[in-house]
């Protein structure tokens, strides 16, 4: 099991954003997290990637304990362990967060050289392979500001992949894109799924979630309402809240 999160709780001030969430992700699995905005999907991702700290619960990534609860309080592992765990996860942001002062190539090589201490030759070789895969090899000397949102997001994915994460998290990877550009990102994620990349995707693209996922999780108000195969959730759900959420989406689309 790559991700094993048990009974995670997180609140901001007095607002409970995550109420007792448990989540397991196996190697090679693609899991989509759907739900209305404010349901805690992004916060869940941010807790699993160490951008936020949980108040209580237990998170294990690839067998290493990130945080556990002792006497009701979350206790995090030491800095070295947290760094090791950090390197096992990648995160693709909604708004890319490329480094604007670095060229496309340097965005992908710099973390490899600084964090993994790879040689420049090796880092460039890996970066160019990934850029080739993303159909962006010709953009290696451009700067992020010169590229479309879809191109920037593909570079962000390449940057994450260059560090060989065991699992890749996506936080609404297409939400900041023009509709005609979402396709190119979804194709990249689809290709990664074919290569058995373990992924957890927070998304509003229901058709895509249905197509690409092995498992779909529906969240609302900080709890997991139900989870199952795409057809269980999208076509045969008996849960009232899931059905309401999906029919509301459908009514917007049609």
């Amino acid at each position: 099991m790559l991700v094993n999160a048990q009974n995670i709780k997180k609140k901001f001030d007095k607002l409970h954003v995550l109420e007792d969430i448990s989540l397991e992700v196996n190697e090679g699995e693609v899991v989509s997290v759907i739900g209305p905005s404010g349901s805690g999907k992004s916060t869940l991702l941010r807790c699993l990637t160490q951008l936020e700290r949980v108040d209580s619960g237990r998170i294990e990534i690839d067998g290493q304990v990130m945080v556990d609860t002792v006497d009701g309080k979350a206790v995090y592992a030491d800095a070295n362990t947290l760094h090791e765990i950090q390197l096992k996860v990648g995160l693709v942001f909604q708004n890319f967060n490329l480094f604007p002062h670095y060229s496309v190539l340097k965005n992908i090589t710099d973390p490899q050289m600084i964090v993994l201490k790879r040689s420049k030759e090796e880092a460039v070789k890996i970066a160019m392979e990934l850029l080739g895969k993303m159909n962006l090899a010709d953009k290696c000397n451009s700067y992020p500001c010169e590229l479309s949102g879809g191109q920037q997001q593909r570079i962000a994915i390449a940057r994450a992949l260059a560090l060989n994460p065991k699992i890749l998290f996506f936080d609404e990877p297409t939400s900041a894109l023009d509709p005609e550009l979402t396709g190119e990102i979804l194709k990249v994620i689809r290709d990664l799924a074919k290569e058995n990349m373990t992924m957890v995707i927070v998304t509003h693209e229901m058709a895509f979630a249905k197509e690409v996922s092995d498992r779909v999780i529906f969240m609302d108000k900080g709890v997991i309402i139900e989870q199952g195969t795409p057809s269980e959730i999208f076509d045969n759900s008996v849960n009232q809240r899931t059905k309401e959420f999906l029919s509301r989406l459908n009514s917007y689309i049609s």
Binding site: T49, Q50, L51, H83, Q86, L87, V89, G90, L91, F93, N95, N97, L98, F99, P100, H101, D110, P111, I114, V115, L116, Y143, P144, C145, R159, A160, L163
Partner: protein
């Protein structure tokens, strides 16, 4: 040669000597107040109130009172308090450095605060430590952010050197006003104006170049 009874060659000779003093004030102030301002910005951002609040009070005092008064203070206060003070030029540099560090601190603080949170988050996810994040990701972008405001401050500094005359530092304005009253002419003041204008034209030109150098990316 004389214009309006003013011996121009003598005036220019004195002014050029005074320009040396202006350069010394200018470069020494930059040399010390820019790094100090950087530390002030970091201190202001500190989560320890014992560091950030006194820094804020220091900035309030030195941004909130006239530089002229501060020059007087560093020139004469030590005599009253300790019976022994700084040399004229040293007192002048201390006042300028402490005053400008307060302003640079504010400029750099704004430059750091303008970096989106996502940059820190991306760096953290990729495994950069805090020092690497600051040096490689944040600082280069801060430099670009603060260039225009810093250029402004540099130009103001050129003009503010004229204040040093209140503690009798022989800079350009001091020479000009003395010559003006001696020969009863406005010519020395006009010549002084040209000196300041030429210096600031250079400053402006240099900052335009630097701005251009950082133009290779936008945010």
């Amino acid at each position: 040669m004389k214009i309006d009874n003013v011996p121009i060659d003598l005036l220019l000779k004195n002014m050029l000597a005074a320009t040396g003093t202006v350069f010394r004030i200018f470069f020494l102030t930059i040399l010390f107040s820019v790094p100090l301002g950087f530390l002030v910005a970091l201190a202001r951002r500190s989560r320890f109130k014992i560091i950030s609040i006194p820094t804020r009070i220091y900035q309030l005092i030195f941004r909130g009172t006239p530089l002229m008064l501060q020059l007087f203070f560093f020139m004469y206060a030590p005599f009253y308090i300790f019976g022994n003070g700084f040399e004229r030029f040293t007192a002048c540099i201390i006042a300028f450095v402490i005053n400008y560090a307060a302003y640079f601190g504010e400029i750099f603080r704004g430059g750091i605060a303008a970096i989106p949170k996502g940059q820190y988050e991306a760096a953290k996810i990729l495994g950069y430590n805090r020092f690497q994040t600051f040096m490689r990701i944040i600082l280069p972008q801060v430099v670009k952010n603060v260039i225009p405001a810093t250029g402004n401050e540099f130009m103001t500094l050129v003009k503010d050197t004229a204040l040093a005359q209140v503690i009798s530092v022989k800079e350009i304005f001091d020479v000009a006003s003395k010559a003006g009253s001696k020969y009863f002419s406005v010519v020395p003041i006009i010549v002084a104006a040209l000196f300041y204008l030429i210096m600031n034209t250079v400053v402006e030109f240099v900052f335009k170049l630097i701005e251009k150098k950082f133009d290779y990316y936008r945010v």
